[in-house]
Symmetry: C2
Subunit: 443 residues, 2 copies
């Protein structure tokens, strides 16, 4: 383990507390969750175990009002998944089904492959060109610090299978939405429109996609893949959100929501996505708790089922939309350091924004004047008028690991994780105790 | 693709030829073999296809006397392989069977796990401590430039399963002999003594081994794994060595052997182990061919079945031991640059050694005064008196990939591969044309 970031120096800069506690808590949470629970696919027993584990952990840390709010959600589970090029060469492919993929017959299906250099290229061809074939779509995603490649190239996964299904394709293969060169395919959810019959859909690891590119180039349209995927939709299952609070002294000052998501994809142990996020927000809230009661209540929410469609945040919003949420913030972009921050605060809290800018500058964190958006777990609360602060993590290496078997504890640098906690602690201390009025202007 | 190393500058230094050809040949061979053939486990159809592919390639390049020498060998093939911790936690493990592993029952076996911090620690315990249990051995292998960690920690794979089997263990698990942090387990051969009943034996990926370490620490002796391995020994199968020559002008001056191995492990496509090696020696020999006939014949051998026990080199030596081999050299340590060289030459060829030292110094390659050993494919020829020159590749990252699914084309830096070809070309030109007598002093 590397030397931990000296938290005390941050607080010395902020000038408000004399010493720091809990410098190892975030790592301890990630370590515990990935070791004692592991994968926690939404709607499965793994996710339920994670809620129980988390509730016990948050209670033991002294949080108030620790409870689980359950809801039911449609659940998809992985089955067998194999693929191989059978003509003109013979190569096994490392691939993984996308969430909501249909199954092939148990013995698999064999079909000719037609490759496209982009999703746009697939959209342009007449249906008969792809009918009955396995559609393969590649792309040109590169690593970026802000993760913008995922938005730009993501539709090849998000909607590519639906487009191929509507054109009559037998199955859909994708170059993983990743920036690594490992034989670890990247899963993730895909969505089929109502009335469209889902097709088997999988992502190839990047070395496999590159080998397929070379084989396709040589084969001149005569390349066959045998594909076996046996995932299942298992109907409505229970999921839940885990909630805990640091209670404030002034109930009228409103509630601050800090969130991450407890569910993970099933291939790895969900260390960076998103054990890190739930650990960061909880460890920062615990730091505030240990400083004495803040003015505003801080509500920590470890959301369920973010990966598969945000059923947890939808359920939470529906049940709580009339509460006085004044600010919401989310950590769900790995465990690398916070390099920038953005915010949207009411006019009344201009001075708070200036204090945040000054404090973050002291921590080497850049003020980004662009839009603050929150994230999937808090977006409805923000749309409803709550202020938002984004602590932007360095995502340069995030898509090397995202949704792969390689999302494991060893990928986390404890010092970078602690820098996140330090940044969140500073932010929460300022916002929870701000004398300014944060009451949202309702739309 | 990165810019290729400018071969011409090397030859300018050597002062002997005006221009360079074939600057892309080694990469072209690796690309072809990994794309059109892929994995080529010894004794299987993949290895046979590789021989056919290679024979066609070497003929097309103008080599003389291109032919395959077949032999039969005992063959082991991989089956299903899964493992999971079932108590006190529930975690799937990414693991792979070791070559010569026995199978579990089809439905798998469940047993308590006993962990050892080293092979030495396992050796020390009485048999009854491990009887009926799954033995798990970890180790402390680190990356080294010369690869010496493999020799030091390798016995945990080479002989660990045999030791555990003799003590009555139900199965054997190993932290992969690797230096990476990927979920890619490292396979490799293990050997059971005659009369010892083989047990199921597998390597865990390093993140899985580290997670198992954490789980074992928490479980206080009460951790159960369910393990399923269904590999098979399929009896004697045909393998073969592929041979090609650049014929020399002086049949009495002896034959130079340059080798790599054509077989690979079955998890990846064998790019660094050892498509790179066969490509390097062939591309260098082709460069010599294109300079006009050398004095000595250069015999290129792409050996079969190196990975599983050296049946190919044994068969080759038995059939050819009476030929006049004056020097043997092998490339089988990846595709990173040559950083050092060592040699053992007869006294009569002292001047040749000095020319090699001078030329390699010009190429930034260090003279290593330690022993030159050749390698598994040529060791018997060397033991029989042939001179040997080792071109030592940088192995710092070799054990990140060795024997894993991640041994694929994308891991090769074409510039580093070409630096190998340049170094081998220089060496072969000097040795093949040396006026000195290289005739070995027979033991």
């Amino acid at each position: 383990m590397k030397k931990l970031f000296p938290l005390i120096s941050i607080f010395a800069l902020c000038g408000s507390i004399a010493h720091a506690q809990n410098t190892n808590l975030a790592y301890e949470i990630v370590e515990g969750l990935t070791t004692e629970v592991g994968q926690r696919l939404a709607g499965t027993e793994g996710e339920a175990k994670a809620r129980a584990w988390g509730a016990q952990k948050l209670k033991s840390l002294g949080f108030s009002n620790v409870h689980i709010e359950t809801y039911d959600m449609p659940t998809w589970v992985r089955g067998a998944e194999t693929g191989e090029v059978v003509t003109p060469y013979n190569q096994k492919l490392m691939l993984t089904a996308l969430g909501n993929s249909a199954a092939t017959p148990t013995q698999g299906l064999s079909a000719k492959v037609i490759g496209f250099s982009s999703l746009e290229a697939l959209k342009l061809v007449p249906d008969e060109v792809v009918k009955g074939k396995i559609v393969y779509v590649t792309h040109n995603m590169k690593a970026t610090q802000n993760g913008s490649g995922y938005g730009a190239f993501g539709p090849a996964r998000f909607v590519g299978p639906n487009i191929a299904a509507k054109k009559g394709a037998a199955a859909y293969l994708l170059r993983s939405l990743g920036t690594d060169n490992k034989r670890s395919p990247h899963t993730g959810v895909t969505r089929f429109e109502d009335g469209v019959l889902p097709i088997p859909s999988a992502a190839l690891s990047i070395p496999d996609a590159e080998n397929l590119d070379r084989m396709l180039k040589r084969s001149k349209g005569d390349l066959t893949i045998h594909l076996t995927l046996t995932p299942k939709q298992i109907g409505m299952q229970q999921s839940g959100n885990l909630v805990a609070e640091v209670q404030g002294t002034d109930p009228k000052a409103g509630i601050i929501v800090v969130a991450g998501h407890l569910d993970s994809w099933d291939l790895g142990t969900g260390a960076i996505d998103d054990a890190a996020g739930v650990a960061i927000v909880a460890a920062a809230a615990k730091n505030i708790m240990d400083m004495g009661k803040p003015k505003r209540t801080i509500r920590v929410i470890w959301m369920g089922s973010e990966e598969v469609g945000g059923f947890g945040s939808d359920a939470y919003y529906e049940a709580h939309k009339n509460e006085n949420f004044v600010m919401a913030s989310e950590s769900d972009f790995g465990a690398d350091r916070v390099w920038a921050f953005a915010y949207k605060l009411p006019e009344s809290a201009k001075a708070l924004g200036e204090r945040l800018q000054k404090g973050f500058a002291n921590m080497g964190i850049v003020y980004d004047r662009g839009a603050a958006n929150g994230g999937a777990d808090v977006e409805k609360i923000i749309e409803n008028g709550a202020a938002v602060i984004d602590l932007k993590q360095d995502g340069t290496h995030y898509f090397d690991l995202h949704h792969t078997p390689d999302d494991t504890l060893d990928k986390i640098d404890p010092a970078a994780l602690q820098q996140n906690v330090d940044a969140w602690t500073f932010m929460l201390k300022e916002v929870a105790n701000a004398p300014e009025d944060l009451t949202p202007v309702k739309k």
